[in-house]
Symmetry: C2
Subunit: 233 residues, 2 copies
Amino acid sequence: MRASLYNPRPEETNLSDFKFFKHLTDAEIGKLNYDKTCQIYKKGSIVYREGSRLTGFYCVTRGILKIYKTGIDGKEQIIRFVKKGDIIAFRSLLSQELACTTAKVIDDAVLCQIPYPTLLFLLQNNWKFSHWMIQILCRELREANDYITDIAQKSVRERLAEVLILLRDNFDVDENDTLQISLTREELANMVGTATESVIRLLSEFKQDGLIDLKGRRITFIDEASIRKIANV
Amino acid sequence: MRASLYNPRPEETNLSDFKFFKHLTDAEIGKLNYDKTCQIYKKGSIVYREGSRLTGFYCVTRGILKIYKTGIDGKEQIIRFVKKGDIIAFRSLLSQELACTTAKVIDDAVLCQIPYPTLLFLLQNNWKFSHWMIQILCRELREANDYITDIAQKSVRERLAEVLILLRDNFDVDENDTLQISLTREELANMVGTATESVIRLLSEFKQDGLIDLKGRRITFIDEASIRKIANV
DNA sequence: ACAAAAACATAACAAAAGTCATTTTAACAT
DNA sequence: ATGTTAAAATGACTTTTGTTATGTTTTTGT
């Protein structure tokens, strides 16, 4: 077997697969591919840190990252998990603010960085693209508002169920309905916004009630419908 | 005295005062003023309702409105209060989604509606304006993320203190540091995301501790610094 | 494969917040 | 100005969630 199968040259990534770029012309995609810098990030590495100045945004080509803010006394609040096909860091970049979140790799990843001037050039010269960007931002803003209502009105139990559904809908499961993404209880807690022990207790309850099965860090869905009912989504 | 002092013709409003429009040319401001429809809204009236299709966005020229989502079993979650100089409804408009919030007047208001085609025309023809729009959206997205961290990690007591500070910083107070905006305890609770009784109890505590004074619906700041300390902002 | 470290699980308890019932007060329309 | 209605206040009680402590299991790195 050739070494490249194990160490794929990250430069080979083609950005035209990203929905984000669907309104760009071939020439513009070309520029993008020319200007990009791709890199492999090992699990645990930090792509950018809260408070840092960004020089570009990133396209996730492979792997999983968590995006989080550091709250009171250092407690992480996970804003979202991102995977292949997602774009990160463009908000802080476009508002010309320092990064307000940290991006940490939780599953070996390949990211392509696009420099800020390239983004600005594309936005300025392609109305379809900037209109699309505006639409994406507006949609994310709605999602954030939805999330605020959720987190403010739902119990921890409901929010945990909701996070499980979110993971189920956005990440891979195997043939037994086992989530392939591996998160610690603490990370789940930081997503839900609660104490680690509460997550442990509630997951145990869900298991006792026959809704899920737990094998170490692996979570298997047994009665997804009931979890959806608890989550109220 | 002339009647117009009591019933100002809302058409007289000039939109060039809005920071939102700061990158428009005089001709564009002219178009805006030409296309706008201004209207007086009495306290209690609804400007648009969650789920409705919007035909334009609104500039708030006078008065106060609350923007809220309806959560589980009809409970309101107030997303924000808006006042003179604020713009509402442009997110749902630009993403071409149905309104995801309701806008209700809590202090007699004057709003100018700008039709969607006008907004689109300005965005498409003035790069400075659409860039400014992108920056505003990105900034609001950061604020939403900050708020999520807050609401997920802080106690009800801390969040109530934070809401008081937010009101203090964004709305008028008289010479005694009394908030001029008049909200019910229920509205405060819907902002904080808690039960009305909890707000009442905590406000009483704040009063007992000499941080605020309460006279009916009027809230007076006595020890603002301590409230900020509780809020952690 | 194995030891060390980290994560997980559980229980007992404390604190925070929600709910319900009742009385008091303030806001609003006439 | 005044009665009516809605909102606010208060207390007793329940439920939820957080905290601390301790033992067990799983990961992880070598």
